[in-house]
Amino acid sequence: MNNVGIPGSKPRTPYHEFYADDFTPRDHYRLLWDHIKATGNSALEAKAHESQLALQAEGVTFTVYGESEEGIERIWPFDLIPRIITAAEWVKIESGLKQRVRALNLFLGDLYGEQRIIKDGVIPPELIYQGRDFRREIVGIVPPRGIYTHVSGIDIIRDEKGEFLILEDNLRTPSGVSYMIENRVIERRILPEFFNKYRVRRVEHYPSLLLAALRALSPRGTAHADIVLLTPGIYNSAYFEHTFLAKEMGVELAEGRDMVVVNDIVYLKTTTGLQRVDVIYRRIDDDFLDPLVFRSDSSLGIAGVINAWRAGNVAIVNAPGSGIADDKAVYPYVPDIIRYYLGQEPILNNVPTFQMTNETDREYVFDNMERMVIKAVSESGGYGMLMGPSSTPASRKEFMALVQENPRNYIAQPVVYLSRHVCYMDGELEARHLDLRPYVIYGEDIEVVPGGLTRVALRKGSLVVNSSQGGGSKDTWVLAE
């Protein structure tokens, strides 16, 4: 791709969500700001403390690995100043996400079916066939109603001009939705007075939307829907979320070893014998799902589950094979995918992206590495990534070698200075960068829950918002009008 036009320019000023250019609060933050000013910092301090205690007592945690063998369970970091999205802004986000998810599901159905998009020359075949997450084993299987991604968590950022851009499509097992809800619960408990001043749209019904979508997929009909949430277990970093959703939906929380497949039917091992399973909401990757079909060394999955799925005896959410559509090498093609299947222009744009397989792009990126983010295409959670501005000559050299060795495996994007927001940090209000992950459910129709997880880079100046790398979060308010 061309025309990104950044070399030589000064670092640009990030968009500020809270303040307008003249350092007065934007209109929709004015009421909140007046309230904060009136109550003062000591009141905020007390509220911040209260929120910490509540999160601790409820055990709202995530687990970080790498620092010690056991993994460290951390309390979910929460900032009490809410992030506000206006009704007009939300209209655009919502319609853009629906459009994108609809197109990506048509794309997946096509890839595992006729592959028209490849035959028509819109997408180069090698891009798909070399993708680690394209599953040849399931070509020809059509999931119920042709839906692959029943749950998507799509990352949106705001560039320097304040435009919402899609950063990443998370279509495999996106996490964070429980924190979206917990943030709201805590926010309302400790700052009820804020809610009187705004009409904030609700998000807590998310589990019931998900449950309805899951029930609708039961091969025995909605009346007989025995659903399980498949978790890798208590050491998984998102285990809190797995228990949260299982409880909220009233479904069984199970591990792979709790299930067995007999004659292409999946059963739970219970104290009173085997019990049939109709729908599996899995929170493990394709790789680990079925040792007979994918990775044979996986002990987290269920042997034979793919055959049961193929036979139509069980539904798997999200469908196996969905990962190819959020492969970062496919990402630059999503605008074309939307045009191809829907005949529409994308409502939300991508972040400009360089293909490392394209020689001109590659040379350009190598010449401007300090202004680039380079990402491995199949990684997520902030891993396998070079952040140009904070990189060292050694790490740049290392990434250059990695890219040259396997260009299909990398993409690059000019660093986008994520928008900022005020956060309450140790007694002071300070600006921090953030992004937004709204959740999209594809059931009867496509629904976007009005809100999402706002992730905050807690370290000053940092652009990395991942909770595994020191990110925090905010309650996200979508206004009703």
Binding site: E58, T243, A246, K247, T271
Partner: protein, 312 residues
């Protein structure tokens, strides 16, 4: 319910009960140290506790010089990370099992689990003086009682509850048998002494470790007769820490769970029940120590049958 979850409910209760019972035992022993005769060494005072805690071999291995001292034992039994029966380990596993069964327990219970773990993990970090330890043991017993109150008032009376009850009662019975066996053996080294009144403090300590001192006094007005104590701790149906009381509650829990086609469990439980439906004469007919040994075997047999029938 899922076999794995049943297993976690059962063990969650066992670990909490073990932590609480161990705290009680330690608390009483600390007081007893002050009251005991002066010629009794620290070794004699603490070795039985290590035996009841099933951690004597590990202790000897870890402290090669063979010396048993109050600070060491306090640390080892309360906070020892290598000791699989230390209070800290029990509380950690209590929380771990609760996390596994998170979707089966009430919000109130889960919050209390977290509170207990965070509170004691923090307090067990530094060195433990006898004074601090004493306060900690009292606090832990209160927390355990509070937790079981939450279980009683917030948990659905279904299978998960039944497995929780089963685990708690099993652990309590098991701890009571071991406490009685070891303490009795020390207090009454010679069987010819059955029938004669013995040292007040030692008997009182045994009964207090089981929270049964006052109840015993009300039931038996005589001096401490060994036969009476054994009868009270094993066979008294009204005493909530007696063996028969625990086994009776296990029977109730098994009734909720249901034993159709669970032959191993039914047989093993019948064998256990038969042993506690006796008279005090029967306790002493074969020798109390032999009787208690056999009771421990039956308990172990019941646990194995339960694991085979329900947890696999």
């Amino acid at each position: 319910m899922l076999s794995r979850i049943a297993d976690s409910m059962y063990w969650m209760a066992r670990y909490l009960e073990r932590a609480g019972e161990t705290a009680r035992l330690m608390e009483i022993n600390l007081l007893y140290l002050v009251e005991a005769e002066e010629d009794m060494g620290e070794e004699d005072k603490w070795r039985p506790i290590l035996q009841i805690n099933s951690s004597e071999p590990l202790y000897d291995e870890q402290f090669g010089d063979g010396s048993i001292s109050t600070p060491r034992v306090l640390q080892f039994i309360s906070a020892g990370r290598t000791n699989p029966s230390s209070i800290r380990t029990c509380l950690r596993l209590f929380r771990e099992n609760a996390r596994v069964a998170r979707d089966r327990i009430s919000k109130e219970m889960w919050e209390a689990v977290n509170e207990i773990w965070m509170r004691f993990d923090e307090r067990l970090k530094g060195p433990l003086s006898a004074e601090r330890a004493g306060a900690l043991f009292v606090d832990l017993r209160n927390q355990v009682a509070r937790f079981n109150g939450l279980v009683a008032s917030t948990m659905m009376r279904g299978e998960a509850y039944a497995f929780y009850q089963l685990g708690g009662c099993f652990e309590r019975a098991d701890m009571t048998v071991r406490t009685l066996d070891i303490k009795y053996h020390i207090i009454l080294p010679d069987l010819s002494m059955v029938g004669s009144a013995l040292d007040y403090y030692q008997w009182a300590a045994l009964l207090k470790s089981l929270s049964g001192f006052e109840a015993f006094r009300r039931n038996y007005h005589s001096a401490f007769m060994p036969g009476d104590v054994a009868e009270f701790v094993v066979l008294n149906r009204d005493f909530p820490r007696s063996i028969i009381f625990s086994v009776g509650h296990m029977e109730g829990a098994l009734g909720i769970i249901g034993l159709e086609q669970k032959d191993a469990t039914r047989t093993a439980f019948a064998a256990l029940l038969a042993m506690v439906n006796g008279t005090s004469q029967q306790l002493f007919a074969e020798g109390l120590h032999e009787y208690l040994e056999r009771l421990l075997e039956r308990l172990a047999g019941f646990h194995a049958a339960l694991a085979e029938d329900f947890f696999q």
